[in-house]
Amino acid sequence: MKQDEITADFPDLPGALTVRRGSVDASQFRDMCAQVRHDGGRLVALWGSDERADDAGYALHVALIDSTGMLCLMLPVSAERPAYPDISDLFPAASRMQRAVADLLGLHASGADDQRKWLRHASWPGNVHPLRKDFDGSCAFPAETDAYPFVTVTGDGVHEIPVGPVHAGIIEPGHFRFSIIGDRVLRLEERLGYKHKGIEKRFESMSPEQGAKLAGRVSGDSTVAYAWAYAMALEGIAGITPPDQALWMRALFLERERVANHLGDLGYLGNDVALSFGFAQFWILKEQVLRNNAALFGHRYLMDKIIPGGVNIGLQMSDKRVIIEECSMLERELGVLRSIYEEHAGVQDRFIGAGQVTPALAAQLGLCGLPGRASAQAWDARVQFPCAPYDKLDVRMATHANGDVAARAALRFEELFESLRLQREILINLIGGDELSNPVKSLPGNAFGVGMVEGWRGEVMVAIHTDAPGRLARVHPHDPSWQNWPVLEHAILNNIVPDFPLINKSFNLSYAGQDL
């Protein structure tokens, strides 16, 4: 059966995004994933839920996107034999997500090549699954030995460098196992999950308002994107549309988050190639943006400013000038700094060709977000699925085809200029007024909502399921880093070990967002 015939009677979900959702059986599930893949679509997220309270066993959920919008599939999984068909052959990025579902919920992908644990280390036994409803989230287990079978590379002169979890810088924890010969990397294997702190389980005992705060702390550098995606999902369920003013404020916050992070990254990219001038300059600019955030909105990173139903702070019309002046200042300084980076032989020598991901490899592995666009993967949720107010903004997406550090740096410059242009557009549309939110009073029972926002790293998605009385039954936040971490393992191949920090920084992926 063709996908269109199956999805014909799938209802559109209410909410800001175009989402069709329906229940499928195991063979339809495989067929539809294969069809989306064949048509050039992508896997956004894969998660599971415990439906035993309704005598419905478990469920596996996937969110797919193609050019027409998002398709959410729900596959019932029996409680007696909790298994579902593997899709990692169709979407390689599914592999780690499937392994996480096995750890957290005990559902297994039949026939998957890699069945090793992923998010579980030694803190809970393999036969215990924290996201099952009969698991008490506050209990702790005696630590086991954490035996993780890394893939070993053998041969004349091959040796390993283990790095982490505590890294030699101000970075999040994770483990990298390099197999090298001389200085050349033959293989990199990542081991993540060190920051797993039970976020998804925590959501289940929270009110929607508390959940908004937690969503804003899944990955602190993307607090705006997560808070917005969470609010979007919740508002879809509640059937609420935030006031126009609130939507414009959200877009303003999101672009300011993008600007702050891109500035910081460009500074560190300079630092990592020994141009400390770059670090000094970009971090002065970033600090000025953060200080304006604090002065105008009360928080340097805009945490907790987006709430379900709207925002909790507006912009004084007289303060528009501050942002306009900031935009002009940044445009001027960025022009100078871009020409310095572009003309600096030492910088370009290190940037060009380092950590290359070809467009073909990027498409095969599902590279997304900023690194995806640097490898010709033209996906940007603000462009393809523009939720209000982006439907009125006409975002101009930038892409590059080289897929190296130089491309990821150049893309950051281009996205910065575009974000500054968008901020000016947003200010024109912000007409003031007191109405900042339409409060979410109660949620319907057994409902589902999804929100997706193009954060500075890529698409951030939050899915929310409510139980019969309308409480948060399952919240799944998804970071684009899930897709992009495995690609980093390929980007480093045949590069030299000392280039890893630079290549890693050019992706700047989230550990917290993937470890949950």
Binding site: L214, G220, A280, I284, K286, R300
Partner: protein, 178 residues
């Protein structure tokens, strides 16, 4: 080169005056002798350990190195190994998966060693602890002090660079005791 020099001259000096120590942030009575403090006081080395944060606190720790706060100008430097460190700057909550790594990092730090716990989560486990600050969850040990001894704890979500500097300076000041 000309462009770089011109830009540096145009930028000028941005560094601001450092804040003072704040005894309210002190968790434990001073454990170190005054003479030791005098010894490390002018050239402190810090090892940052992210024991499970959301990465928000790290943003502000990075900012300490920017030209406005210029923490290196005070003789305070971030180092790559705990073996080179006088102080651990730890963000949390401590995830159970980081518990061993944090303890080992602490053990690898030569004495006398100082520990500054950073952020609301480092102080009490934050949003990630279901019951209270002592208990944590299946995945979180809660606050930093549940895992290693803490000298100074600085709240905030995240604490601003000024608050972080205050906490660091408080840890290395004697607090009037000898």
């Amino acid at each position: 080169m000309y462009q770089i020099i011109r830009q540096i001259l145009k930028t000028g000096i941005k560094t601001e005056t450092a804040p003072q120590a704040d005894d309210a942030l002190r968790v434990e009575a001073q454990r170190l002798q005054e003479k030791i403090l005098r010894h490390v006081g002018r050239a402190l080395t810090i090892r940052h350990v992210d024991a499970g944060s959301c990465n928000g606190c790290e943003l502000e720790i990075h900012a300490l190195n920017n030209a406005y706060y210029n923490i290196e100008g005070l003789g305070i430097r971030f180092v790559a190994s705990p073996r080179h460190a006088d102080m651990l700057l730890v963000t949390g909550p401590v995830s159970r998966h980081m518990e061993v790594a944090l303890k080992r990092t602490y053990d690898a730090t030569p004495e006398p060693r100082l520990v500054v716990a950073v952020g609301d989560c480092g102080c009490d486990g934050g949003l990630f602890s279901p019951v209270d600050e002592q208990s944590g969850s299946y995945a979180s040990c809660g606050k930093i002090a549940n895992v290693i001894p803490v000298d100074v704890a600085v709240p905030g979500c995240p604490p601003t660079p000024i608050m972080l500097m205050q906490a660091i300076l408080t840890a290395i000041s004697s607090g009037g005791k000898t």
